[in-house]
Structure formats: structure tokens, C-alpha cells
Symmetry: C2
Subunit: 132 residues, 2 copies
DNA sequence: TCAATGTATCGACGTTTGTCAATATGTATG
DNA sequence: CATACATATTGACAAACGTCGATACATTGA
């Protein structure tokens, strides 16, 4: 919703403040954690990689199912989580559901992991549908 | 162990290959996923942020416990996971255990999320003690 | 409208996770 | 050695997760 500073690896302010200063507020931490958790599964990492490495940078469930060797409902389940985390976008074309990687989200994550603690615009993550 | 290419968001090779080409091998995906999963909890994100934002970029458990409002065993548990993921390093000084952020690991993650799909040196992640 | 096909949802299952109280380990200090 | 204090480990519990078979929904084409 709002823009937050997320200093993961270096302080924004000079020094001398107590531990609590510069702390990520719990709300932002929750949102960011959801995205990282979506990446925290080998299958989902592979799915994301598969989509990204496609010639046209997109893939449908049938392709992915074959590639990761899991059943179709399982792949759909994982894709839903990736969409919910805003890491991927779904588009229905004919009978097929095509997925593309959302670069903006990857950028937010890279920013969050930056040593120089830039501005992490958490609001860019909210485009994924809220899950469960 | 070895150095792997991890093309999350863009293909390394020109095009025209089937879905399986450029796929992250399962082993690398597992290692990377462990690190992302460590970031996939709001409390651990806050802990990491707290450590990083300390004036001397380090913190002991007692400080962290007070800051996140959880019990000491819980914080120790989370710190163990962060160490296991290689996101943090533990150093015993006197009675206290001090934790510092491992910048190398953050860099590996940023690389993994890079659109231009650089070299993600997975081996840098193996310094964390294997857990469980 | 019916059949075929791609995808999503549901219900179930074993496993993993986050949290805590209780207890053990380790480190200084009297 | 004994005591105090900081941290780690253990065991327990509820909640969340990954996976699947069965089934429902949606889109296309005959």
C-alpha cells in the first residue's frame, strides 16, 4: 500500500539508535515474506525458471506438468501461489492458461536484498490476488 | 558444489528449445529454495533487518528477543535456520552469541533474481551448516 | 447440445513449520 | 566449585504445506 524502506543489510541512518529503529514494520514483513515463501519450494523455483526460459517467456500448465514430473492439480496449486505472490501473471488464451513472470516483483525482491538498503516499494507486490 | 547458471527471468540461450532446456537442475533448486524459505517468514525477515540495521551490523539474541516480542527459544530456533541458510553468521563472544548478515548470500539471491540471468554461484551457499 | 480437452477446486493424507514451557549446555564470576 | 546468566535443545502441539485422486468448471469444435 505505502512505500517502505527495507534495510535488510545496512542501516539507513548513521548509527547509535536502539535495536528497534529501522525495523521493518510487521505488515511489510508479512507481505514480503509471502513472496519469499513462494520462492521457498524447489518445484516453484523450477516452474519459474521454466517459464522464464521459454522462447516467448511464457508457458501453459500442460508444458509445466510434463517438465516437473508432477500431477496437473499439483502444478495448478503451485501456479496459484506464484500468482498470489505476484511473481507470475495468468492469462487465459483459448483452452490454455499462459503464465508470464512479473519482472517488477523480482525487482522489488532484489531491492529488498540490496546491501545499500534502497526503497522497496511493497505496493508493487499487492497486484497478486490475495490467497486463501 | 558446482557453479550453476540460474536463469530465473530470461533465457540464456537464443530460443527454440523445448521447455526442459535451461531448466534449473533439481539439486540447485533445492539448495536455493532452502535459502528463500528461510526468508519466507515475517519474523525471520524482521530479525535479519534488525541485525542489519544495528549500528555495528550485529546483534545478540537478547536484543532480538526483546525486539520481535517472541520467546527466547523461538528466536534461537529462527536464528539457527538463518545460519543454516547461510544468511547469517554466528560468533560467540563471552556469554553472548552475536549474529552478522552474510552479504555473499544476499548477492547470490540477487543474482538468482536477475532478469539477465547471470551466474549464480550456488556453492557460496554451502557454508551454512547443514540442518536437521 | 454433446463430446473432448485443458485447467481449477475439493477432500484427504502424511510431513513440515512456528511457537512455547521445560530443561540442558555453555560461559563468566564469586 | 557454585552460582548466575545467555543461549541452545528437547518435546509437544496446532497450523500450514505438498501431493494426489476425484471431480467440477471452461473453452473449443463437431
Amino acid at each position: 500500500m505505502t512505500t517502505h524502506t527495507l534495510p535488510i543489510a545496512a542501516p539507513v541512518l548513521p548509527c547509535c539508535e536502539p535495536v528497534v529503529h529501522g525495523e521493518i514494520d510487521a505488515a511489510s514483513a508479512t507481505v514480503l515474506a509471502q513472496v519469499f515463501r513462494a520462492l521457498g519450494d524447489p518445484t516453484r523455483l523450477r516452474l519459474l525458471s521454466l517459464i522464464a526460459t521459454q522462447p516467448d517467456a511464457q508457458a501453459c500448465v500442460c508444458d509445466l506438468t510434463a517438465a516437473v514430473g508432477l500431477k496437473q492439480p499439483t502444478v495448478s496449486h503451485h501456479m496459484k501461489q506464484l500468482v498470489g505472490a505476484g511473481l507470475v501473471v495468468r492469462e487465459q488464451r483459448g483452452k490454455w492458461a499462459y503464465y508470464r513472470v512479473r519482472e517488477e516483483t523480482l525487482e522489488v525482491l532484489r531491492d529488498a536484498l540490496r546491501p545499500s538498503a534502497g526503497e522497496a516499494d511493497i505496493s508493487a507486490l499487492h497486484e497478486g490476488k490475495s490467497m486463501r
